[in-house]
């Protein structure tokens, strides 16, 4: 499979193209990524959302908890571009504040899950002795754990300590990231292990081994880059799963305090007013939707771009 088709400029023999400078793998990936139209659009959408939540609060300095009973449930207007909720609080300001948390939780939980999954999967995939079955047992064990009761337990046990260490929002943030990340690495680990099992027998790995590459070098420099494609796709799914898991926790009263308007929380608050004030639910709902969708498309584009076997 790998390497048998000369599909892209980077693997073309350099001597055959004397006119153009050598193309670095990074630029090559970027070239291939740009070909994926939806992924490009998604990149802009995501960049817009991220920029919006990062610099938005400076441009729109209305406090998130400014109660104004004279402006209850107003629709979008110049004064409140995304309308107000039933306490007359500005939804745009709340969304920008909450978006920081939702996006940060999603990305951080994804990073935790992916790193743990890749490490465990890689070691299991490279092991030829007892480590592989042992690590897979651990993975199966984690997969069979009932997540919600475990979450409740962890939160009851550690909430207070973490709150003391990192403050109210920081403590919950760390807790949620660790818990969501720690409970969602298993699919990644299995994917990585499967990739490693097949890749470690390939000729290029054998060649590296013959040249005296250590196991670690084989893993990091030779096998891992070739196994990343599916991992990236799995990781993008983790982002959306983490955002949704955070809203579930808020719904159960175990996430952030109720006055911190994460996107999930905004949706939860808005659900009773769906018929009269749809804007309240529409904007945070659309944000979650757009974020998850664009991250998935970006994942798609990255997979195509990083797959050396695919001709673009």
């Amino acid at each position: 499979m790998a390497g048998s088709t000369l599909a892209s400029p980077s693997v073309d023999p350099v001597v055959a193209a004397p006119a153009s400078a050598p193309v670095s793998p990074g630029r090559e990936t970027w070239r291939r990524f740009r070909r994926h139209k939806l992924a490009m659009i998604s990149t802009f959408v995501l960049a817009f959302l991220v920029l919006g939540v990062v610099i938005g609060p400076w441009l729109w300095p209305i406090p998130i908890n400014d109660i104004d009973f004279s402006a209850q449930l107003h629709g979008p207007s110049w004064e409140h571009p995304l309308g107000t909720d039933d306490l007359g609080q500005d939804i745009l300001a709340r969304m920008m504040y909450g978006g920081r948390i939702s996006l940060a939780v999603g990305l951080a939980a994804m990073i935790v899950a992916t790193i743990v999954g890749v490490i465990i999967g890689a070691f299991a995939g490279m092991s030829r002795k007892y480590a592989d079955p042992a690590l897979m047992w651990v993975t199966d064990l984690f997969l069979s754990l009932p997540q919600l009761p475990l979450l409740l337990l962890v939160i009851y046990l550690f909430r207070e300590q973490l709150k003391a260490l990192f403050g109210v929002e920081g403590g919950v943030f760390v807790l949620i990231v660790v818990v969501i990340g720690g409970l969602r690495w298993m699919p990644v680990a299995r994917l990585v292990r499967a990739q490693f099992l097949s890749l470690r027998e390939k000729e290029f790995v054998e060649a590296a081994r013959a040249q005296g590459a250590t196991k670690l070098r084989q893993m990091v420099a030779h096998i891992l880059p070739n196994a990343l494609g599916p991992v990236i796709v799995a990781a993008t799914i983790e982002v959306s799963a983490a955002i949704i898991a955070e809203s579930t926790l808020s719904f159960l009263g175990l996430g952030f305090p109720p006055d911190i308007p994460t996107w999930g929380r905004l949706l939860f608050d808005a659900k009773d007013h769906l018929d009269s004030a749809p804007h309240w639910a529409l904007f945070p709902g659309a944000s979650i939707f757009l974020t998850v969708l664009s991250i998935n498309f970006i994942g798609d584009g990255l997979r195509d771009a990083l797959d050396p076997r695919r001709v673009i």
């Binding site: 908890n65 400014d66 109660i67 009973f69 209850q72 449930l73 039933d86 306490l87 009851y156 109210v168 159960l252 009263g253 305090p257 109720p258 006055d259 608050d269 659900k271 009773d272 007013h273 018929d275 009269s276």
Partner: protein
């Protein structure tokens, strides 16, 4: 109004020149609420009135199924273990007391043949005995006759401390004697002004002796009938899945002719208040939904659907905030918020007073609760003569700031006030329910302006209101600085209700946090006034003593009342139901019918 005037009016009622209704109206005008006005009439031998639903159907059965939605699902069906209202409502379908309370606070006989009065010999002149005549011909669902033995047995069952009945407080200090098969006598150890407690309403449901005789005391929780009741009620038990669904069918031998009108009953649990309201008012899937703590705005919109109507009745329920004067962050002998500790900042009366000034009760009523409550500064609001006229509320951020400045709490660089390194930062906890979270947000904002930082915490209702000893988030544990919830007043008399302000009821590890005094605050003066009220036969003096208990706690700003709640329920347009604020929703379920 003087004694003599009231006597004159009572005489007019007796002669017939003044109607009961006008009497009660006149009493209300001078601040004596309906329940007490009607009790005055009883003491003076005028028969109790009846504000129950007039029953129209001419035969029992035939109206199909009755579908009720209790969004907090019932989990057990023994009324003497039912600490939750949901369980009390569910068990009342199968079990009945000797009498219940209607919406005007009149005592309406159920298993009793008549309400005891002085005239019929039911009440002794010294206020120490009550004699109940039982209704003849009442049958249990298994066909056995209902007799005085069952009533006496219920007393023995509930008074036994090993039974651990929730209702034990009503029975442990009385004696019950069987006079004959259809007469029982209740003997109080001291003159008891509010005699209509044992065997009445929620705490008074009668258990069948032949089913429970083997399960008195320690074995009480093993009785199969705790989940499969055999009672005297209008519906016979068919099936029960705790936490989900309860079904029953019409009891053909029910003791009231032509009742009940429905062939079967279904009580479904689950969901939340809004979805329950929607299921009745908008989609019409259910006939009746209970306890609709839903924002006014949402409720109004649903009502425009035209499939159902809401009813709101006055009750003594109160939504309030507790300021914890004990330290929730220090553990002493395995419990936090122990009375042995002192809160670092909330033990300062100035801070508590400032927080009370930061609650915008009028806005909370106007924009959130609407028909669901009236802003108040008094813990007891119904019956009216027990409401303190002295307590007033006010919303003023400036005053709060001034009080805190004077008490030496200075704003730090982060805008939060502090003194000696102790900051005014509090955890403010309540159950998950949209109106409560909005109230939290409103109070938090005002506190922020006064330099007090609140961390809002909301706990799912099934955890918050559970009596789970292992869970740190229940409301009786009070592992927080501020806490908000509603407490229900089960009878049209606040004596039992106010025992949550006594020192011997303080919730602690020792009593498994079942003590009624959740605030943990106590005052010897309040204890004294409460004890005196228990034996006081003069209604006016007794009311004054109970008002004093209320005022001591509210003036200490430990208890911050927010709203006097009404009970709001929704019913299908064609359902005639009998909603009382003084008894559970199902108190007169036999008389419900469809038009």
């Amino acid at each position: 109004m003087k004694d003599t005037e009231i006597r004159g009016l009572i005489a007019d009622v007796k002669e017939g020149s003044l109607s009961r209704r006008s009497f009660i109206k006149r009493m209300a005008a001078v601040g004596i609420a309906a329940p007490i006005a009607s009790q005055i009439l009883v003491w003076n031998d005028v028969a109790m009135a009846n504000a129950t639903l007039p029953y129209k159907p001419t035969k029992a059965g035939g109206a199909g199924p009755l579908k009720i939605l209790l969004w907090q699902a019932p989990t057990l069906l023994n009324p003497h273990f039912a600490s939750g209202t949901k369980d009390q409502i569910a068990s009342r379908i199968f079990y009945e007391p000797l009498a219940g309370w209607d919406k005007e606070g009149n005592l309406i006989p159920c298993l009793a043949a008549e309400v005891p009065t002085k005239a019929n010999g039911g009440l002794s002149a010294d206020g120490t005995t009550v004699t109940w005549k039982l209704k003849p011909g009442v049958k249990w669902h298994d066909g056995k006759p209902f007799t005085a033995d069952d009533v006496v047995f219920t007393w023995q069952y509930a008074k036994d401390p090993a039974t651990a009945a929730y209702t034990t407080g009503s029975y442990k200090d009385i004696k019950v004697e069987k006079v004959d098969d259809l007469t029982v006598k209740v003997v109080f150890t001291q003159p008891t002004p509010f005699w209509a407690d044992p065997f009445v309403a929620t705490v008074g449901q009668i258990l069948p002796k032949h089913r429970f005789a083997d399960y008195v005391g320690a074995k009480s929780r093993e009785a199969p009938d705790n989940l499969k009741p055999i009672g005297t009620g209008p519906y016979k038990f068919t099936d029960f899945k705790p936490g989900d669904i309860l079904t029953g069918e019409r009891f053909a031998d029910y003791h009231i002719k032509n009742q009940p009108a429905f062939d079967s009953i279904e009580v479904k649990g689950g969901g939340d208040a809004v979805s329950a309201a929607r299921a009745v008012l908008q989609t019409g899937e259910y006939d009746y939904a209970w306890n609709l703590q839903v924002e006014e705005e949402v409720l109004k919109r649903m009502e425009t659907g035209g499939r159902g109507k809401t009813s709101a009745v006055a009750s003594g329920d109160i939504e309030f905030i507790i300021l914890n004067t004990t330290d929730p962050n220090t553990e002493v002998d395995g419990e936090r918020s122990s009375v042995k500790t002192k809160h670092p900042t909330l033990s300062d009366p100035a801070v508590r007073k400032a927080i009370n000034l930061l609650i915008d009760r009028d806005s909370i009523q106007k924009f959130i609760y609407g028909r669901g409550g009236t802003a108040t500064a008094s813990f007891v609001n119904e019956p009216k003569q027990f409401k303190s006229t002295k307590l007033k509320y006010e919303f003023s951020i400036d005053k709060a700031n001034k009080i805190l400045d004077e008490a030496g709490w200075k704003k730090g660089s982060d805008g939060v006030r502090e003194k000696d390194g102790k900051k005014l930062k509090y955890v403010y906890q309540t159950s998950i329910n949209a109106p409560r979270q909005k109230t939290q947000a409103i109070i938090k904002q005002a506190c922020q302006k006064a330099g007090i930082e609140l961390e809002l915490k909301s706990v799912t209702a099934s955890v918050f209101f559970s009596s789970d000893v292992a869970n740190p988030d229940t409301y009786t544990k009070l592992y927080c600085d501020m806490e908000m919830y509603t407490t229900t007043q089960p009878q049209p008399d606040p004596e039992r209700f106010l025992n949550q302000f006594t020192s011997w009821e303080i919730a602690s590890k020792e009593n498994k946090w079942l003590g009624r005094n959740v605030s943990r605050y106590s005052d010897p003066e309040a204890d004294k006034a409460y004890k005196a009220a228990q034996g006081e036969l003069d209604p006016a003096k007794r009311a004054a003593l109970l008002i004093k208990v209320n005022e001591i706690f509210c003036e200490a700003n430990v208890i911050l009342p927010l709203l006097s709640r009404t009970r709001v329920a929704a019913a299908a347009n064609n359902l005639m139901h009998d909603h009382s604020g003084w008894d559970v929703d199902s108190w007169n379920i036999a008389a419900w019918y469809r038009t």
